[in-house]
């Protein structure tokens, strides 16, 4: 089937729910409405309103109740309507979901997935366009996953649901309808914590994930055409735990790297990626690792979004500086 990311995610949910009665879905508007982005469309009709729950408007209780369900042995897949509203439940994620296995010394664990649309490019207001992966990546006990296309979104969501630990699952709003991809009928999984080299190259490593992967790929194409430089492009897929080995191996080969993300630059995910590469590939580095990220200012309004979200020209400029270093 050729599916866009919305349909691919929906397929993953449907098949996992068919496979395992313990999987249930809850969140604001996920039932009758099928989610504001339609990712949970039709699930309530299929599985009933006990399994696909339209919750009251309260994020902390959505996560908190999911924690309780998970402690009982269920596998809630909950949706926070936009990642910008997940700070309301950040304490339940940090205080509890991430810690229950450790706190109870293995007696309990939270096999749960928290899905959230994130990121910009959709002409939306404040809190509907931000990119908050860093906050989750820094919390021990969590996994932080961000797919970049329909097929890996489906496979990673299946893996996240089957993972025995809590997974924060970010879905780039800009990718929901961006492209359709062949997605196999049978459930497919991808290991969490593993990055993918989506383009091989020897001159430079471009590292990205989610919606920014397209920017990295396009920049790589241009570099090949216009500069004769072959960029290796890495799609993280899982931000945390970071696939440090794949990153280091690539930069050991290329000697140069540019990291691209939508989150603000300072104290952002690019910092860990850069620091980690430096630690592991120091002697191979031919140039400082560059970061292309949003500027360190609060939400700018979508009329000016393009001024701050990384785009191909900015990546090209950074890549060329790095190559010329």
């Amino acid at each position: 089937m050729k599916l866009n990311m919305v349909k691919a995610l929906n397929l993953a949910l449907r098949q996992e729910m068919e496979r395992d009665r313990d999987v249930l879905v809850l969140g604001e508007d996920v039932g009758v409405d099928g989610g504001v982005f339609r990712v949970t469309e039709d699930l309530q009709r299929r599985f009933g309103s006990q399994r696909v729950i339209d919750s009251p408007l309260a994020e902390a209780a959505i996560i908190g109740a999911s924690v309780g369900m998970a402690l009982y042995g269920l596998k809630p897949v909950c949706e926070i309507q936009f990642s910008g509203f997940a700070f309301q439940c950040f304490h339940q994620i940090e205080n509890h979901a991430a810690r229950y296995r450790q706190r109870s010394q293995g007696r309990f664990h939270c096999a749960m997935v928290v899905r959230m649309p994130y990121g910009g490019g959709v002409r939306a207001l404040e809190h509907h366009s931000e990119s908050e992966e860093q906050f989750y990546a820094h919390i021990p006990g969590l996994k932080m996953v961000i797919p970049s296309g329909p097929r890996n979104a489906r496979a990673l969501l299946v893996s996240a649901i089957r993972d025995p630990d809590p997974v924060i699952f970010f879905e780039a709003k800009g990718l929901y309808h961006a492209a359709r991809e062949e997605v196999p009928d049978d459930p497919e999984m991808m290991p969490l914590g593993r990055a993918q080299i989506v383009r091989e190259g020897r001159d430079l490593t471009l590292i990205s994930y989610g919606a920014m992967l397209r920017v990295a790929r396009e920049a790589a194409d241009t570099l090949a055409q216009e500069d004769g430089a072959e960029a290796e492009v890495i799609d993280l897929l899982t931000v945390a735990p970071l696939d440090r080995a794949t990153l280091a191996a690539s930069v050991q080969k290329t000697g140069r790297a540019v990291i691209i993300h939508e989150a603000p630059q300072s104290f952002g995910p690019g910092a860990e990626i850069a620091a980690s590469i430096m630690e592991r590939a120091f002697l191979s580095l031919e140039a400082p690792i560059k970061r292309v990220a949003a500027y360190d200012v609060p939400f700018v309004g979508f009329a000016r979004e393009r001024a701050t979200v990384p785009d191909v020209p900015r990546v090209l400029a950074a890549a060329r500086e790095t190559l010329a270093f």
Binding site: D33, E41, P56, E59, A124, G174, D296, G301
Partner: protein, 378 residues
């Protein structure tokens, strides 16, 4: 098992003055001067017409997603009209009519929904917060403002708006509880429009009314017919006066209905029936008030055209807005830009000076509007 009931018992009252069949409780009818009634009516009409116009602007891609108010004009204006300019108004994201009453220029609101932060800037002397998107998070701010007014010895009252769905959020609860304990001059106006996007009230809370939630905080709650501008006004005036006199907070539940879409990204046919909408359309606050004014001979000829012209003029001003200056993203991030952010600003300035990218397709593709899968009917 028998027990002792706590006395006095807890009571919540319902207030209705002008019902949808035009019946008027003259004993309760507020004593509003003709001018005030006309001003209220004009504001309700403007709210309605602008709403319709904005839906079209959104469909044409001239503004982004926004939350229409159709059906809620009486709740917003009956309440906000009891404030003085020196009082504070704290909106959520669906108070277009109330914001315009408070002096927000229409073109500024359009600018806001077109993604310009300039649209969110209240005028220097205006005592209003801007639109707050995260549901219920503005309510503690209202309590803080009210505390500050009291602390400074100023007699300002704060009126905060929110929806039925918002009452489920922790911030609603914490704010109401603080308000009760601090006994501050704040009026909580809940527009219970029956729906929080696709979630109906009965899935939102198991309480019979929203008003009774005030019992948890030890201050008065009242339920009013939110499509009855007279009832909303009467209840609000009482609450505002009590607050100003040092009588503490009140929760007002306006029972109303969102006749249109939740936002322009929403398709309400997925979750509610045409019959339900039709039933509430019969209770339209504007029709009811029109009849009331007609009986009083206060309807002005040509008001619609006047209002439409005002809207058209505002849209012209809005459309004359020059393209956004990208560097403005740094203007108000901090009082003083930290060195590293200043360096980012320089980088952007240089990029803006630089020659255009070598190939056209290096540009970002045009951003798709935020949406669900379907477009809406209403």
């Amino acid at each position: 098992m028998p027990r002792t009931p706590l006395e006095p018992r807890f009571t919540i009252e319902h207030l209705s003055i002008l019902d949808s069949d035009g019946n008027l409780d003259t004993a309760l009818e507020p004593d509003l001067p003709a001018d005030e009634l006309k001003r209220l009516y004009r504001a309700m009409l403007l709210g309605r017409r602008l709403d319709e116009r904005m839906v079209r602007l959104q469909r044409q891609g001239r503004i982004g997603t926004f939350a229409p108010i159709k059906g809620q004009e009486a709740s917003q204006l009956g309440s906000v009209s009891t404030l003085r300019p020196t009082d504070w108004m704290v909106p959520s994201f669906r108070e277009t009519a109330a914001m315009i009453w408070r002096g927000w220029p229409i073109d500024k609101l359009l600018l806001f929904f077109a993604g310009f932060l300039e649209g969110g800037q209240p005028a220097p002397a205006q005592h209003d917060l801007g639109i707050t998107i995260p549901v219920a998070t503005q309510l503690p701010h209202a309590v803080g403002l009210a505390y500050a007014a009291q602390y400074r010895g100023e007699d300002a009252v704060v009126m905060a708006f929110f929806g039925d769905g918002a009452t489920s959020e922790g911030d609603f609860h914490e704010a109401a509880n603080f308000a009760g304990v601090w006994h501050v001059p704040v009026v909580f106006v809940c527009q219970n429009n029956q729906w929080a996007i696709s979630v109906p009230l009965k899935k939102q809370t198991h309480s019979r009314t929203i008003a009774q939630k005030a019992l948890a905080y030890g201050f008065p709650g009242i339920q009013v017919d939110g499509n009855d501008v007279l009832a909303v006004h009467a209840a609000s005036r009482e609450a505002v006066e009590r607050a100003r006199a040092g009588g503490g907070p009140t929760l007002i539940e306006c029972v109303t209905y969102r006749l249109g879409v939740h936002t322009t990204a929403d398709d309400p046919t997925k979750y509610r029936t045409d019959e339900e909408v039709a039933e509430w359309a019969r209770k339209d606050p504007l029709t009811r008030f029109t009849e009331y004014l007609r009986k009083k001979n206060l309807l002005e000829d040509g008001l619609e055209a006047q209002v439409d012209a005002e809207i058209a003029e505002a849209i012209r001003r809005f459309e004359a807005t020059p393209p956004p200056d990208p560097l403005a993203i740094f203007a108000h991030a901090y009082a003083e830009l930290p060195p590293d952010v200043a360096a980012q600003r320089r980088e952007l300035a240089e990029r803006l000076q630089a020659p255009p990218p070598r190939r056209a397709d290096e540009e970002h593709p045009p951003a798709p509007p935020m949406r669900g899968q379907r477009m809406t009917r209403r």
